[in-house]
Symmetry: C2
Subunit: 337 residues, 2 copies
Amino acid sequence: MAVTIRDVAKQLNLSITTVSRALDGYDDVASETRARVRSTARKMGYLPSRAARNLRRQRADIIGYVIPASGTRFTDPFFSEFIAGLGDQAVSHNFDLLISTATPDTPEEKKVYARWVQSRLVDGIILSRMRLNDWRANHLTKHKFPFVVHGRTQSKADYPFIEIDSRAGFALLVKHLVERGHRRIAYVGAPEKFTLQRDRYAGYCDGLSAANIPFDKSLVGVGDLTRAGGYRAAQSLLALRKPPTAIIGVNDLTADGMMRAARERGIVVGRDLAVAGYDGTEVSEHTQPPLTTLRQPVYDTARNLVNMLITHIQGEPLAPAQIILQPELIIRESTGG
Amino acid sequence: MAVTIRDVAKQLNLSITTVSRALDGYDDVASETRARVRSTARKMGYLPSRAARNLRRQRADIIGYVIPASGTRFTDPFFSEFIAGLGDQAVSHNFDLLISTATPDTPEEKKVYARWVQSRLVDGIILSRMRLNDWRANHLTKHKFPFVVHGRTQSKADYPFIEIDSRAGFALLVKHLVERGHRRIAYVGAPEKFTLQRDRYAGYCDGLSAANIPFDKSLVGVGDLTRAGGYRAAQSLLALRKPPTAIIGVNDLTADGMMRAARERGIVVGRDLAVAGYDGTEVSEHTQPPLTTLRQPVYDTARNLVNMLITHIQGEPLAPAQIILQPELIIRESTGG
DNA sequence: TTGTAGGCGTTATCAA
DNA sequence: TTGATAACGCCTACAA
């Protein structure tokens, strides 16, 4: 059995109260006593039991995040960066990060959230890749459980969130392509239930309107936010009798898949075909040619979300609870440089 | 305050004992009683408090993994796959996965492990990217704390591990290149403290010996397991008066960076220069051209490690505690197809 | 400045 | 088959 506060107290001929207070830095402990306590606690390798402390304090100092995917080939670097941000910032608050994986809108997903909330395993939750009608937001709101959101649901949101204005971003991207002389601009999106699809698709349409380009339904493909999805959708688009001269992917991964489809048809991206993505992850720097994209600050947003969540958990008011950021257009060779 | 076992008991006019036992599926509870308990518990949204249960049971049903990196640009897909495997398998055992980030051999790293172990926040730990002389393995052994390892330390290991025989793999890779007619084969490695560097470098040397190629120190570069590191190292190698005709990277990321350096010098990879990597992550499929690599089963290994760890935690003997797997050579266009 | 004691919500032992 | 009760290890109001 590990060393407990009793062991430390016995060793020092003190009460457990004094040991506890000395270690917590209360100022009604003689400084000499505190020094003695601290030193022997360290010597004995004592740290308070998290289980006991959690029970007593009614909080766990843990935040939770469920990766919205499951299975071998989840490799969106978005999540790597996002998790790195969550982890780093949690540590700096002396919080820990609990991770699980679950495919969106499955019974497993419900189970994970239920477990975390009802057993109070975590103090708060980070939500991302929101759905238009997101049961998670409703569920957590109903249970008055602290959470913050990356993105947004369809309904009016009364929770703290950070949203990237991807609609404006996609309009900007279309504008950029139009300025490069493109008129047949295609779009490969994601399943409709995701808010990001609604927003980015709307931005695409906005961009076409602004340039007086008639909307052409045959130029809209559907992917699944993976390379494979982008690859398949681009194959169809490039096989059209009048193929597009430019294709925008809903994210960088989709765009990377699209580029592979182009290569396989002998099409040179950046010359014969313009390609663009969204996210600005490392992937976009290392495609061949490098990918024009909209950069969202994934890592910093994750850190920010953790700050917001912990503020929320501690019951303090969080000033600008709803933040909207603009993505940054990064022009690279995939759209002609 | 959330609903507790007392609330459920009161509602049913039963003792908390009976409720507890009914929910845990003990067979000394009348089946009709159990049904009633289960139904109202569900109706009331009751799940046992994790803090209380952990305290009582003296375990947390949580395993921990520290990502050996910190800061914005940690994007090695190895970790994405690894974490996905850990998370998926943990869930299937009703365990949760606690994640932290820390740069190897820093005070922060020590702090994280100390916290987890001494406060018994987690029941066991997964270690990866081992160092030759790894304080973590020593520390956990000393504390008799359950852990399993991906890879290995230098010393004789008396802990459960899964090792990929990357030494044999790299020898195989050199053989492949020799068969393609290469004699000037370079290697871009990682910092010496990592076991993987010792093994892969040794495999590289093995391969040269086997082909009777004299070792040339100027053909050995040092990276840091990132694209940037591979890029820099390859720049130097390609600037040699007699540059190599083939370069092996210590991992896929390094190789991808090397390919960029080649492109910038107008060198066509797969024709003018052979390039190979290690890991077999998704990156290797999507480089241009696709990358010859050694595939290690990252996802499955992660799942396997979780199984081993949980077996270990539960005190059961684990049959083949020390597993060594062979990586699989995947030949693609980057070495001529 | 230090000590006593109650209780956080469970599970497990033992008695009924 | 069910119930009373004692821990698990800590924090904190209150007493000394």
